[in-house]
Assembly symmetry: C2
Amino acid sequence: MRKQAKTAITPTRAKDYPVWYQQVVKASDMAENSPVRGCMVIKPWGYALWENIRDVLDNMFKETGVKNAYFPLFIPKRFLEKEAEHVEGFAKECAVVTHHRLEGGEDGGLVPAGPLEEPLVVRPTSETIIGESFSRWVSSYRDLPLLINQWCNVVRWELRPRIFLRTSEFLWQEGHTAHVGPNEAMERTLQMLDIYERLAESYLAVPVIKGEKTVSERFPGAVNTYTVEAMVQDRKALQAGTSHFLGQNFARASEIKYQSTQEKEEYAWTTSWGVSTRLIGAIIMTHGDDDGLVLPPKIASSHIVLMPIIKKPEHRNAVMDYTHALARELREITYHQRKIIVEIDCRETGGRGWDWIKKGIPIRVEIGPRDIAQDSVFLGRRDRGPSEKESIPKGQFVKTIVSILDEIQKNLFDRALRLREENTKQIDSKDDFYAFFTPENSERPEIHGGFALSHWCGNQACEEKIKEDLSVTIRCIPLDAEKETGTCIACGGKSPMRVIFAKAY
Amino acid sequence: MRKQAKTAITPTRAKDYPVWYQQVVKASDMAENSPVRGCMVIKPWGYALWENIRDVLDNMFKETGVKNAYFPLFIPKRFLEKEAEHVEGFAKECAVVTHHRLEGGEDGGLVPAGPLEEPLVVRPTSETIIGESFSRWVSSYRDLPLLINQWCNVVRWELRPRIFLRTSEFLWQEGHTAHVGPNEAMERTLQMLDIYERLAESYLAVPVIKGEKTVSERFPGAVNTYTVEAMVQDRKALQAGTSHFLGQNFARASEIKYQSTQEKEEYAWTTSWGVSTRLIGAIIMTHGDDDGLVLPPKIASSHIVLMPIIKKPEHRNAVMDYTHALARELREITYHQRKIIVEIDCRETGGRGWDWIKKGIPIRVEIGPRDIAQDSVFLGRRDRGPSEKESIPKGQFVKTIVSILDEIQKNLFDRALRLREENTKQIDSKDDFYAFFTPENSERPEIHGGFALSHWCGNQACEEKIKEDLSVTIRCIPLDAEKETGTCIACGGKSPMRVIFAKAY
């Protein structure tokens, strides 16, 4: 075994994964908990990541004809109540506005005043309020498809919040579309799932499995829910995005009707789909290591930090000139539709290199008088160990920077994929299944958690039993699952295919 | 007098300006009122405009070192109460969250449940919640300046909402900065005002006057408030953006302290500044005409619509090929950092040309077999009358499109500036002043409203008297006002300079 090196993050992932996660968020300066219970403050380094994700997705959406719009933050209670399953699903986590001003109270402090006739719910999701607009925008088949997206904040009251993964307020996009028939709506549902897969795999370097949710894991009110599921480094699943085929449920609730080509009045078929700031949690948990955050170059907040080394005052001008000239050269280069973003860190503290490692910047460059004499730079890459640095000619560095970044991007993806592959097992015996998910109690400790590809009869009772026993859920029925007869891991009944079982965030 | 032509918007501006405004919003398909009192739905044509404004501003902010972040939607009541003037200013329009779930009530419907220990206010502005973060982020002079901006929604309960201009929920950006001293903070306050002026004049084609607000018009809690004020077509003023020098008021309230170079503990000096979706109202009211919206090309939702004319089926292929080829050519062209956005409208309705006029698209192009035969296009410009169209060679059109758009942009600005200049008067007599603002009662009906540049003694009582009598307020003390002794328009007392009086939105 390799000698244990000191790490920038304490505890390590192996030691205490949940605390490691919190420490990475803190050390990378991405976000912090706010004094408002369950809400977070997203700091510039974290927000830049979200802006980059937004820009990538927004372009992909617009290429498929989707347009952005904005709908009210508040939903009248009666709107939410229109779809029975929907309101049932969200009632327990609604922030409710009941008053519209503050007034002096008896003890001198301010108290809520101006009670509203009808309480307003802060949107947990916007099917019902957008549905109301759609019902007015659609009257003929000619008005369809309607392809709308909004970028906004939503609120779902969380009793056990966890930064980025589960917060009472979060940022997201929610797409809402209406169509003339089920086929077109289903096609759109899966098209958007493909976009989420592309975002996750090609930009976030997070491999995902596309699949359908079981009935019990569906979005409240949906006919089918599809998901992209990632495996993070403690081998739990993390749902990275969902796309819902809503059938005519919400069209009926909101009266979204159109006159068909046969001049019959029909309810539209709708979809909705979203990803949120949770994706930042997925990035941290997929790529972070014991030295902190590791950012995939394609969506990194910045790409490169230049650190001039000035030990004698007489070197200052030469080193700074060289640094600024290099920054200018790099900033002219386009990397996947964005100009390369370069930071210059002139602090004279010894810890600055580690600061940038913890922040996960893909490339660190040190520039001192010796480097300048050789016209070279001293390069560190975040996909390698902190001390694995190398000197390379500056010209070569500039010329190959795009491929270096691409290589880092690819290495992150490959590493994540390897982790998932190594920790995904076909499991056919109930004993093995229970051992897989409780390695601490097992006589076979070499079997540990991850994704279990196991048979399931389709019975909700079996799903619940496993959830109760092991806190393991069916993450999805993979879209590319092959038909394969087997016996249910829980009841031994006949099963048509394998599904993915895992513990999940 | 010219024969009155039929207009696309009824009523005209002259007939009923407020209703004209509503009709333009509707006819251009930018936005609509929502069933949630005071809230609006921003439709794609309006939202694209906001995205363009956001991108322009965001770049300008970032060039000055500002970074984006995101802070909680909810503000604990006690935070808001920390600054006495601030809470007093906003208490009357706060949406208050008092519960965090809905539960089955006695009558079967859902009622608010899970009362919060402390009510939360939906942010009307974020000085107090951001101040709380700043107090933790700042400890030394080395941490300053802190330059932060957020793009978000805010809520200020409106009893008399008006779409875009005054809505209960609106979108905006709010910048918040902290500095080591008053000079640096004041410099930043005015720097951001300059950016708002540049946005308004160079992008929205809306001329503005920079000035300082009087005490009574200040942001609650600010030491000084600066504004950019526009004149719209009914000659009223519209405040287009504000920048506040907050002194140490909010630093004291939020405990934003730093250790100075002399190792003394000091309160920071802060600023805040914002513009909102109200700017869309300013665009409509500045440029719109009796045929609808007129969009400044630099921030237009789209630049050009191509309308193929196909009267015989055998022409279809040729016309569509020509249209698509032209669209491809145009979409390659960059106009002020954006690729030109081209719409193709293949509808066969006669009304499509008018639809695009009402939506304010800068350029309309008709393409029929005759145009193709001549390799020319038939061009309509939104800065000209709807029937003033001309045929020009296609090659020339493509080659000059950027200068045509620039010319439209300039024409809109010049026209707006002319309106303001024609309706700004130096008024020195009280009678003239009263007549200027009540032309309907005046014996000199040729004098009508607008901006009155008049003397004011600095006394709040005079300001109030004029507000009571005429609903006229001091819009600002222009930054470039020359010292000029005179007598106060209200009391006849001594005055050091002229200020701008106007009715306002």
